[in-house]
């Protein structure tokens, strides 16, 4: 089980390195487009749409990564007054019945959506008209990473409840 969570955490961390570079690429493309349009009067027909794809893929691939640090905003008003053990039980309970099923449903239907798009080889409606099914597939992959990371965090928390060990300490430090 711990091997499984380690594997997932590692995989998400590695894909995040790649995803974070999408924003660098986006900056380069946007600035080049500004230069081409303003100084050379020769804008491209693809830059806006391409940057849109980069922007969307960037944050959707970050969902799992942020979850790794428990970085999605939560409000700790009441629960912090509970004992550590009760907090863990509450976490396991809400994750199993709320967070995980919701993200799993989204993930399944994201694949459903991506498959439909792939099957019909969907293109965008613009003049450039690139294939958009790869981006829809990335959306499904982004939700998959999120589901995997929630599962990993859940397993770690269960292990912590059951064992005396403290696998939560294995959460990597943020950069």
């Amino acid at each position: 089980m711990r091997g499984f969570t380690k594997l997932i955490d590692k995989m998400i961390a590695v894909q995040a390195e790649g995803a974070s570079m999408l924003m660098i690429l986006l900056v380069i493309i946007m600035c080049t487009e500004v230069f081409l349009r303003y100084f050379l009067e020769a804008p491209t027909i693809w830059a806006l749409e391409f940057t849109t794809f980069l922007y969307g893929m960037h944050f959707i691939l970050g969902y799992g990564y942020t979850e790794q640090f428990n970085g999605h905003v939560s409000v700790d008003i009441l629960s912090s007054r509970l004992s550590r053990k009760l907090q863990d039980i509450l976490y396991v309970f809400t994750t199993v019945f709320i967070s995980l099923p919701v993200c799993l449903l989204l993930c399944i239907w994201a694949y459903d959506n991506a498959l439909l798009s792939t099957r019909t080889l969907e293109h965008s409606a613009s003049a450039w008209g690139p294939s958009i099914w790869p981006v829809k597939l990335v959306m499904a992959v982004g939700f998959t990473f999120l589901v995997l990371q929630i599962s990993s965090n859940l397993i770690k928390r269960i292990l912590q409840l059951v064992h005396t060990g403290d696998p939560l300490n294995e959460v990597p430090h943020e950069p």
């Binding site: 349009r37 009067e41 027909i45 830059a47 806006l48 293109h123 409606a125 003049a127």
Partner: protein, 363 residues
């Protein structure tokens, strides 16, 4: 010897034969539908959708209530087609060209550069194979479709650079979308893709020289005249603007016969009303534009150049998209068949009478 052919009544309402003996099943069942669309509430197109929903509710005596939702309320603007196809909602309103990425042919049902005008769209859709082809296209996605309003010709470019001759369009940074982007680029202009919300500011600061959006009445609230000097006419990209209502096939099939007739009739009523409504507003809007900006006409040579470039572009597209070819050829055939009637009826354009007496005869 020769006998004179017997002259019969020239035409007949073909529908009458089909429906004369039709039994219409009615039902007391009540339906509550949701309609999604790409329009925000500020756009006049939203009113088209609302008008249709009103008619359906009243004509059905409340048995079919369709609630319209503007863009972003339930789903983002460009997702309404997929959402209705999927069955998340029962009905949608659109400008078919938005779905060009699914099939280039959709745009042919919306507006084509130098394509059909409103009159010919009506003839093509209702009296020729137009609606049938449209049904075939939408049917592939599990949708039933009806023509859903038209607003006629659009305004040309809102521009800060005066452009009359074809050379003037060289390097002109124009915001537009779809086919027209490539056509403008082929003419030497610089087509720029700009999100709708950033057009105004981009015109104001000079990121853009010009922008194309919609018909005068629809453009008026956008206020582009506040940040541009000219309207470059005519709107060669879009001699008409045709909309459609589309329905999830499963939901549509569950309707009783009379409700289906009501949908059909209400869509036709919307088609009639929208044209009259918007063009009456257009007449007012263009007068207001004239007070604020200069209306510039591109010269005939430029218009011909635009036509040639558009034609070449569409011929290329037709080679790659079989169904688009079928649809555009069918539309072109109507233009050809209509040629003699169009030319013989010329000369009685309804200009004000003193203009006609002064010799202004043609459109």
């Amino acid at each position: 010897g020769t006998t004179l052919a017997k002259r019969e009544k020239f035409g007949a309402d073909k529908r009458h034969e089909k429906v004369a003996k039709l039994k219409v099943d009615t039902s007391d069942k009540k339906h509550r539908w949701k309609m999604v669309m790409p329009w925000s509430k500020g756009l006049l197109f939203y009113d088209l959708a609302v008008h249709f929903c009103d008619t359906v509710r009243l004509a059905s005596g409340g048995r079919l209530i369709i609630k319209p939702f503007s863009a972003g309320e339930l789903i983002p603007a460009m997702e309404c087609f997929d959402a209705v196809a999927k069955g998340s909602f029962e009905a949608g309103h659109d400008w078919p060209g938005y779905w060009q990425g699914k099939d280039q042919a959709f745009t042919a049902f919306a507006s084509v550069p130098y394509g059909l005008d409103s009159e010919l769209y009506n003839i093509w859709l209702y009296e020729r194979e137009g609606l049938e082809m449209m049904q075939e296209l939408y049917g592939q996605y599990g949708l039933f479709v009806l023509p859903g309003g038209q607003v006629g010709q659009e305004l040309g470019l809102a521009s800060n650079r005066r452009a009359e001759k074809i050379e003037d369009f060289k390097g002109l940074k124009v915001r537009t979308a779809g086919w027209y982007m490539e056509i403008l680029n082929n003419l030497g202009a610089s087509a720029v893709a700009t999100p709708g919300g950033e057009i105004y500011l981009s015109l104001q600061t000079g990121v853009l020289d010009a922008a194309e959006f919609s018909s005068p009445a629809v453009n008026w609230p956008m206020g582009f005249d506040e940040v541009t000097k000219y309207a470059i006419q005519p709107g060669v990209h879009q001699p008409a603007c045709q909309f459609s209502f589309f329905f999830n096939k499963d939901a549509y099939d569950k309707l009783s016969d009379d409700l289906k007739w009501i949908l059909d009739t209400a869509a036709k009523e919307t088609q009639l009303w929208s044209y009259s409504w918007i063009n009456n507003l257009n007449a007012d809007a263009i007068r207001r534009f004239k007070d604020k900006i200069e209306i510039v006409r591109m010269d005939d040579e430029a218009i011909v150049e635009f036509a040639k470039t558009s034609h070449l572009y569409l011929e290329e597209l037709k080679k790659q998209h079989a169904f688009l070819k079928k649809v555009l050829d069918s539309q072109e055939a109507l233009k050809v068949d209509f040629r003699d009637w169009r030319s013989s009826r010329r000369g009685v354009t309804p200009w004000p009478i003193e203009d006609v007496i002064a010799g202004k005869l043609y459109e």
